[in-house]
Symmetry: C2
Subunit: 238 residues, 2 copies
DNA sequence: CAGTGGTCTAGACCACCTA
DNA sequence: AGGTGGTCTAGACCACTGG
C-alpha cells in the first residue's frame, strides 16, 4: 500500500467518523507530514485525492476544510464512477443475477466499433436481470470479447462478472466512458422490470477498458426511473 | 499559466490534431521533460491530468498511449462535469435564455438544506427556459442565495448566470454534486418543452459550491429524453 | 507580517514490462 | 538488462489570505 493511500484512508476515516466535523478546518499539511512521518508533498497528494472525492476543499492561504455532507441522493444511488459493480455496491447477499440469454456471436458493426474490434472477433452477448432484495432492479445487456474474458460460465453470470475479471483473471480496469440518458420503455423492460406502458427508463450506456487499453465491455444498463439515480462529483481544477 | 498546464495543453492539442494518433505511444516523460525544459515530475503531473480527461492511458513499464476516440455520444451530449454552463458548451449565439419567473423568496426547509443556509436567508427563485437554435431545450429551476450573487438582473438571466458569477463577481467555482435521474413529465415540461403526456424526462439535480466552500446554487435541469444525454469519463486509480 | 496551500526541482529508489 | 512509469524526499520559492 502506498503511503499517500494510507494517509488518504486514515483521514477519510476521520472525516466520516466525525473526528473532523463538516465545515471545520483540518490540521495543516505540515502537521500531517509530521504525524505520518512523510514529506509535505506526499500529504498534498493524499489530500488532492480526498478533494476529488468531494470530502474536503482547500483554500490556498487559509487551510483545508471538511465539506459538509451533501443532502442530495437517496438509498439507491450509484456513484457514476465505480468499477466494483452492483454486487460490491449493494452487497453480494442483496444482489441476485439471473442470466436471461448467454450467447456467442460475431459483433454487429455497431458493437464492434464500441469494442474497437473486428466483426470477426467472437463476443459474448449477455442479457442479465439484476435483482435487489429479490425484486427486479436492472436489466443489463453486455458485450465482451471472448478473447479478453475467456471461460465465462453460467455460474459466473449468476454472480459478479467484475469479480471474475478482477480476482480470477487478474485484469485491472483502466477506465470507463459512460453516457446517461432517459428513454421510453421497451418490451423487455415491461417483461422483466415490470415497467408500465409509458414508464420512463434510465439507461447507462458504457464502454469499459482495461489498464492495457483494450476495450473489454460495451453494455447498457436500464432501470425504472424511480428505482435508481446516478451521482457525479465534480471538483474544479484537478 | 502554470508549467504543467502549458504542457498539458500542448500535448492535448497534439492528440486532438492527430500528431499523436490513437493507440500509438507518445514520447516518454524524459523526452517531454527535455522538450519543455522541466523536471520529469512536472511532465507526470500534466500527463495525469490528460489521463483523467480520458485522452491517454499509461502502462507502467511500457509507455503512455493515446486512447482512441470513444464512439459513444452524440451532438447534444454534455459532459456531466462542466462549470462553464450551457452557453459556453454550445456557443452563446446558439443559446437563448428566457426567464419565466424571477422571484425573491425565503427558501423552503428542503431548499435551505441543499444550500446549507438558514430559511431566513433570501434566495432567488428562478425558472428559465433555455433554447437551442430557437427550440425549447432545457427547463432550469435555480435557487441561489442573494448574498452570494448580488444585483442579479433580468438582463443577466437572458444570458449566462455563470458568466456573471465568474467574470463580473470574480467568484471561482469549487465543485458540484450532481444527481441524474429519469422522471415523468410535469405540466411545466408539457407547457414549455413540448413534452407529451408520457414523454420520459431526464433531470439533473445539482448543488454547486464556490471555491470558498459556500453553496451557491441548487438547481434542477430537465430536458426531453431524446434531446440530451450526460457523459461521464471515469479513470481508475487517481 | 506569519501562515497556509501550490508549484517545481534534482535525484534516489521501486515496480513493472519486454526481451 | 534496459527502459518505462510511479513514489517519495528535502527544500526552495511563489501566491494567497487574514490580521
Amino acid at each position: 500500500m502506498k503511503k499517500y493511500q494510507v494517509i488518504a484512508n486514515t483521514i477519510r476515516k476521520r472525516i466520516l467518523s466525525g473526528v473532523y466535523p463538516p465545515k471545520t478546518m483540518i490540521p495543516d499539511q505540515k502537521q500531517f507530514a509530521e504525524e505520518f512521518d512523510v514529506s509535505m508533498i506526499t500529504v498534498k497528494k493524499a489530500l488532492d485525492g480526498l478533494a476529488r472525492e468531494g470530502l474536503i476543499f482547500k483554500k490556498s492561504g487559509l487551510g483545508t476544510f471538511v465539506l459538509g455532507k451533501i443532502p442530495l441522493g437517496g438509498t439507491y444511488d450509484s456513484p457514476a464512477n465505480a468499477f466494483d459493480g452492483l454486487s460490491a455496491q449493494q452487497g453480494t447477499d442483496r444482489v441476485d443475477s439471473v442470466p436471461l440469454t448467454f450467447e456467442l456471436a460475431f459483433p454487429t458493426p455497431a458493437v464492434a466499433e464500441k469494442l474497437d474490434c473486428k466483426t470477426s472477433e467472437p463476443v459474448y452477448d449477455i442479457l442479465r436481470l439484476r435483482k435487489l432484495d429479490g425484486k427486479p432492479f436492472i436489466l443489463e445487456h453486455t458485450y465482451m470479447p471472448v478473447r479478453l474474458v475467456p471461460d465465462l460460465t453460467d455460474g459466473i453470470l449468476k454472480g459478479s462478472i467484475y469479480h471474475y475479471i478482477h480476482e480470477d483473471l487478474k485484469l485491472a480496469f483502466g477506465g470507463a466512458y459512460r453516457q446517461i440518458h432517459a428513454s421510453e420503455p421497451t418490451d423487455q423492460d415491461r417483461q422483466y422490470l415490470n415497467a408500465g406502458e409509458h414508464t420512463p427508463m434510465l439507461e447507462v450506456e458504457q464502454v469499459v477498458w482495461l489498464a492495457n487499453g483494450e476495450n473489454v465491455e460495451y453494455s447498457t444498463s436500464r432501470n425504472v426511473f424511480d428505482q435508481r439515480s446516478y451521482t457525479v462529483i465534480d471538483v474544479n481544477d484537478f
